[in-house]
Symmetry: C2
Subunit: 289 residues, 2 copies
């Protein structure tokens, strides 16, 4: 049998993101052994039962030196501590990546906590997920035909970046490179802002006295517009806080956009309203994910 792409993979956080990477690598015979670390023994046991990991790890000192790939798939808030704990034990050939939704903050943590091991670390953001989370939601095809953005560090060698690309590509994803700042600006605009707007719409409706009446007549447009308001509140709180400055700029832009629409509407300016809607309609009709 051919040697797998990675003999040993260590995953921190065996939920949707971490679990799906493992299942995808396994389905492609791209991994020998998968070892899981996590805060909850119950989740680790469940992940083992689901065939996501071979076993849960207990001792970083012995597990990391021969690891080919380490994947930090926890909430971003846990990464500083994990980075500090793993830094002393990484093997010379070990490559490390994360799966967080924001990148400037993760890069900052890496410089602070990985110290000289920073050259091993390639920040990554798989553009996949959804409202469901946890090990039971993990699937081997989660990354199939999805995009992954990596934001390499100046310290990374070409070989390290190539290994991380391979990890995602073997799972069916296509890999793009951006700077951390570009990444956070793009995702503030096309992901973080829409989530915030969707949460705001539902929150504004729910707090009204007649919310049962209102929601009883909501239909498919509402359903799709608010699907992302069913996302994890904790995860989105953390993303918004992590990308706060850029997201505030996006909110300001959007508020200006709304204010222009409000003016057109209050002046009953059908021509202007029609123009705005037509531009959006044309762009959205030709866009495909």
């Amino acid at each position: 049998m051919a040697k797998p792409l990675f003999q040993k993979v260590v995953i921190f956080g065996v939920g949707l993101i971490g679990g799906s990477l493992s299942l995808a690598l396994r389905s492609k015979h791209a991994v020998g052994e998968v070892v899981g670390f996590g805060r909850s023994l119950q989740t680790l046991a469940q992940a083992q039962q689901l065939g996501i990991i071979d076993r849960s790890g207990s001792d970083l000192a012995t597990e990391l030196g021969d690891a080919d790939l380490v994947f930090l798939a926890t909430p971003v808030g846990q990464m500083p501590e994990i980075m500090a704990r793993i830094a002393p034990y990484l093997g010379t050939h070990t490559v490390v990546m994360d799966g967080g939704s924001t990148k400037c903050d993760v890069v900052g943590y890496a410089y602070k906590h990985l110290a000289e091991s920073v050259a091993h670390f390639v920040p990554a953001h798989p553009i996949a997920g959804g409202e469901k989370s946890g090990a039971t939601a993990a699937r081997a095809d989660l990354y199939q035909n999805k995009k992954v953005v990596i934001t390499p560090m100046p310290e990374n060698s070409a070989a390290t970046i190539a290994r991380i690309r391979e990890a995602w590509e073997v799972c069916g994803a296509s890999v793009s490179e951006l700077t951390p700042k570009q990444h956070d600006e793009v995702f503030a605009a096309v992901s973080h802002l829409p989530h915030l707007l969707s949460f705001a719409l539902v929150h504004g409706l729910v707090k009204r006295e007649n919310h049962d009446l209102l929601l009883s007549f909501a239909a498919s447009g509402f359903r799709d517009f608010t699907r992302i308001a069913a996302s994890s509140p904790e995860m989105w709180r953390d993303i918004c806080l992590a990308n706060r400055d850029t997201l505030l700029v996006e909110m300001g832009r959007y508020e200006e956009e709304l204010s222009a629409l409000r003016n057109a509407l209050s002046e009953a300016d059908g021509e202007r309203l029609g123009e705005i809607f037509s531009v959006a309609h044309a762009a959205r009709s030709k866009w495909t994910p």
Copy 2:
């Protein structure tokens, strides 16, 4: 063979809404003959070819007196003229309904243009549709398990209202009654505002220099949030203008909601952000259309 529910149905506007009513009534053997009127001879010919209408009508004076049901399924803007033209010819037993997305304006047109025939007319709004329109998009099951709101006129007899209810129920819809004002408030909140917000997001992105980069990383959250921005610009311009005052109130409420979120974010108030997101998450997770 049993007598159908409606021997003769006349439909103005044989697109998605009008065409689907005809196909639904036909599939339930609830109609004898369907006659179509419209501004485009080509559309009428197409509707005939698709089996939506038996024939296109040419003379209102001869077609309306023996019609059991007349359905105004055109854009709302065309209704005043059609109402004025049909009023003199309606049979004593003819019932009339519309399918418009706003109701206060339609009720106003009915009083003005249907004159004493206003008792025949029951305003209706089927909560169905989507981005697609036109006769080719019509389907027999469009109204299956959908809601239809009717806003009866004080002049309607119980028998007239019951006939209109039957028309929708035989197509698989469930019928609710609201006042026109209630209707327009509910739909401003759960439909018109989300459309406007979705158009605004896409318009704001498209006008930016780097819109190709931005849109290339947009994923499933963006896809669903902006699905309604692919809706007809003309139809939504008209809906927004027709429901302008109520929609402006909803916009004001939403802007306050956004402003509260902006404050929480700029103060890095994670607790407040988390609360807002949690309330929205809980409500959206338990909601079903």
